[in-house]
C-alpha cells in the first residue's frame, strides 16, 4: 500500500518532465489542439459575426501562406516578394471591377471598367502569372541570399508602382467601392456566403498544392532545395522547376489578393508593404516549412494573435500593433532556437 502511494507520488512529481517530453515530441499535435481550441473559444465568446470575419481573414492569409510554402518550404527559395503578387492580384481585381465615378477628384481621368468580379478574377490571376514569368526568368538564376535580395527588390518595386502609377491605382487614395462577387445574377453580399466562397478557393489552392507536392514534380522541387547542382547532373533543369513553382505560387497569391479586394471593397498601397511579406514568411516558418498543414495552422495562429491581442485587458489600443509584432518576433526566435523546422514541418532552413 505504501509502495503504491510512493509510486503515485513519484509519477506525480515526474509529471512536469513527462509533459515537457510529450510537448517536445508531439509539438505538432499539441499545437494543433491548442490553436484550434483557442480559435473555438475565441469565436464562441465573440459571436457569429466576429467568427465569420475571423475565418474569412484566416482563409485569405492561409491562401498566401500555403502558396508561399511551395516556394519557401518545398523549393527552399526565401522570397519576400510574395506581397507584390498579392498586391497585383488585389489591384487588378480592384481596377477592373470598381466604379468610383462619384468620388473622382476634379479633372481626374481614370479608366472605368466596372467588370463583374468573376470576369476580373481570372485576369488578376493570369496577370500575376505573366508578371511572375517575366521576373522569374531572371530570378530563377539566383539562389540563397541573393534570392532574398532580388525578391526584396521586387516587393519594393511593386509597392512603388502601387503608390506612383496614379492614373491606374489612384496612388495613396486607394480604390473604393469594389463590388461583391456576383454568381449567375446573385450577389454575394452575405458574410457567411462570402466566407464559403473564400473557403472554396482555399480548398482549391490546398488541393492543387497537395497534388503538386506529392507528384514527381514536388519531389524534384525538394531535391532542388537540397542540392541544385547535383539534381542537374541527373537531367533536371533546376531553373525551370524554380520558375514553374514561382509562377504557380504567384498566381495563388494573386487569387488571395483579388479575394481581399472584393472582401474589404477597398485597396490602398498600405496593405502591400514589405512588412506583410515578412509576417507571411514568419507564418510559414512558424507553421512548418514544407508542410501544407503547418501553413494552415500558422495562418490560424497568426489571425488569432492579430485579433486576440486587441482584447488583452489594460493594453492601450495604440500599442496593440507593436505587441503583436513583439509576440510574433519572440515566437520566431524561440522556434529557430529550439525547433528550426517549425511546428509541423520537416525541413530545416
Amino acid at each position: 500500500m505504501q509502495i503504491r502511494q510512493l509510486e503515485i507520488s513519484q509519477n506525480f512529481s515526474r509529471l512536469p518532465q513527462t509533459l515537457l517530453f510529450s510537448l517536445r515530441n508531439h509539438l505538432e499535435i499539441w499545437a494543433t489542439v491548442i490553436v484550434i481550441l483557442a480559435a473555438a473559444t475565441f469565436m464562441l465568446s465573440r459571436g457569429t459575426g466576429f467568427s465569420i470575419t475571423l475565418v474569412t481573414v484566416f482563409a485569405i492569409w492561409a491562401m498566401l501562406a500555403v502558396s508561399l510554402n511551395l516556394v519557401l518550404g518545398y523549393t527552399g527559395l526565401l522570397s519576400v516578394g510574395h506581397v507584390g503578387f498579392y498586391g497585383i492580384g488585389a489591384y487588378t481585381a480592384a481596377v477592373l471591377t470598381a466604379n468610383p465615378r462619384q468620388e473622382l477628384l476634379e479633372g481626374e481621368i481614370i479608366q472605368i471598367f466596372a467588370w463583374p468580379f468573376f470576369a476580373a478574377l481570372p485576369v488578376a490571376v493570369l496577370l500575376c502569372g505573366v508578371v511572375a514569368l517575366i521576373v522569374g526568368v531572371a530570378f530563377s538564376r539566383f539562389r540563397d541570399d541573393v534570392y532574398v535580395l532580388v525578391s526584396f527588390g521586387f516587393a519594393i518595386i511593386a509597392y512603388n508602382v502601387f503608390v506612383n502609377w496614379q492614373w491606374v491605382t489612384r496612388g495613396p487614395f486607394g480604390i473604393h467601392q469594389i463590388p461583391k462577387p456576383v454568381i449567375f445574377g446573385y450577389t454575394i453580399n452575405d458574410d457567411l456566403e462570402f466566407l464559403l466562397l473564400t473557403l472554396a478557393f482555399l480548398a482549391i489552392i490546398v488541393g492543387i498544392s497537395w497534388l503538386i507536392v506529392t507528384s514527381s514534380f514536388g519531389r524534384v522541387l525538394k531535391a532542388v532545395r537540397e542540392d541544385e547542382d547535383a539534381i542537374e547532373v541527373f537531367g533536371y533543369r533546376s531553373s525551370r522547376y524554380k520558375l514553374a513553382i514561382w509562377v504557380i505560387s504567384a498566381m495563388m497569391a494573386g487569387l488571395a489578393g483579388a479575394m481581399l479586394a472584393t472582401y474589404t471593397s477597398f485597396v490602398d498601397p498600405n496593405s502591400f508593404i514589405l512588412l506583410e511579406s515578412i509576417l507571411l514568411v514568419a507564418i510559414v516558418i512558424l507553421g512548418g516549412l514544407a508542410s501544407i498543414w503547418g501553413s494552415l495552422l500558422g495562418a490560424l495562429a497568426f489571425v488569432l494573435l492579430e485579433e486576440g491581442v486587441r482584447f488583452v485587458p489594460f493594453l492601450p489600443p495604440e500599442h496593440v500593433g507593436q505587441v503583436r509584432q513583439i509576440i510574433l518576433g519572440t515566437l520566431l526566435v524561440l522556434l529557430m532556437l529550439f525547433r528550426p523546422q517549425g511546428v509541423a514541418g520537416r525541413f530545416k532552413l
Binding site: D227, D229, A230, Y236, R237
Partner: protein, 254 residues
C-alpha cells in the same frame, strides 16, 4: 587503315576526349588531354593528388564547363556539356564529396532520378509500382532497405556513399563515372560497390572509376589511365601500365 578498320576502332571506344582543357587561374588542371574509354569495360583512372582526375570527371559530366577541346560520345561531338544534358549523352556520376538530397527520404533519393524529366509532365506523375520495385531491388543490393524511410542526412558516412551508388543504379545510362567510390568504406561495403560495378558491366555498361586503392584497381579494372599534372602519363592494360617506370616514378618520386 581502311574505313572498316577505323570504324571498328571508333566503335570500340564509347567516349573520347580531344585536347580538352581546364584552367583555374593560371593553373592547368586538365591540360590538352586526349583519352579514349573502351566500350563495355571497367576503366580505372589513377594519378597523384592534384593530377586532375576529379576535374576530368567534372568536365565529362558537365559539372565544370570545358575551356577547350571536344568530347566525343557516340555520334555526338561536344564542345560544351551542360550538366542537365549528361544523362541524354548517356552518362551519370557519383561525387567525391558525397552529394545526396539530405532532407528527403532514402527512397525519395532514388525515386527522384527515376521519374519524368519534363517539368510539365512530372506534375502529373507519381511514384508507380515499377519505380517501387526497382527502388526496392536497389536498396536490397546496397543494404539500405531497412533505412528506406530515414532522411538521407541520418545515414552514416558509408551508408551515404552506398546510397549514392544506389542512386547511380537507378539511372539508366551507358557510362557510369565513379569518383573515389571506395574511399572511407568498410571492407564489406567495398565488396558491395565492387559487386555493383561488376553487375553494371554484365549489362554491357561502361564504367570509369577514380581510385587511390591499387589493390582494387588491379583487381577490378580492365583498362588503366594514369594522369599527372592534368596530362596523360600512361594508358593500357593495368599490369603493364603499373610496371611502367614513368608511372612508378610519378607515384614514388625519384
Amino acid at each position: 587503315m581502311t574505313t572498316s578498320e577505323r570504324h571498328s576502332i571508333e566503335s570500340s571506344f564509347v567516349l573520347q576526349t580531344l585536347d580538352i582543357e581546364k584552367h583555374f587561374g593560371g593553373v592547368s588542371a586538365v591540360d590538352r588531354l586526349s583519352i579514349s574509354i573502351p566500350r563495355g569495360l571497367i576503366t580505372a583512372i589513377i594519378g597523384p593528388n592534384g593530377s586532375g582526375k576529379s576535374t576530368l570527371i567534372n568536365l565529362l559530366s558537365g559539372t565544370l564547363p570545358l575551356d577547350g577541346g571536344m568530347v566525343v560520345v557516340g555520334p555526338k561531338r561536344l564542345r560544351a556539356i551542360r550538366p542537365y544534358d549528361s544523362p541524354n549523352i548517356g552518362l551519370t556520376r557519383t561525387f567525391q564529396d558525397v552529394r545526396l538530397f539530405e532532407q528527403i527520404s532514402v527512397l525519395d533519393n532514388l525515386y527522384v532520378v527515376m521519374t519524368e524529366r519534363s517539368s510539365l509532365l512530372s506534375l502529373f506523375q507519381r511514384a508507380r509500382k515499377e519505380h517501387r520495385e526497382r527502388a526496392e531491388r536497389i536498396l536490397h543490393v546496397v543494404g539500405l532497405w531497412e533505412k528506406r524511410n530515414d532522411l538521407a542526412e541520418e545515414l552514416s558516412y558509408g551508408q551515404r556513399k552506398l546510397l549514392e551508388v544506389g542512386r547511380l543504379m537507378a539511372m539508366n545510362t551507358q557510362i557510369y563515372l565513379f569518383d573515389e567510390p571506395f574511399a572511407g568504406l568498410a571492407l564489406h561495403m567495398i565488396e558491395v560497390v565492387k559487386g555493383v560495378i561488376r553487375e553494371l558491366q554484365e549489362y554491357d555498361r561502361t564504367i570509369i572509376f577514380v581510385s587511390h586503392n591499387m589493390g582494387i584497381v588491379r583487381e577490378l579494372s580492365d583498362y588503366l589511365i594514369v594522369m599527372d599534372s592534368g596530362r596523360l602519363l600512361a594508358r593500357g592494360q593495368p599490369d603493364r601500365v603499373l610496371n611502367d617506370p614513368a608511372v612508378i616514378e610519378a607515384y614514388l618520386g625519384n
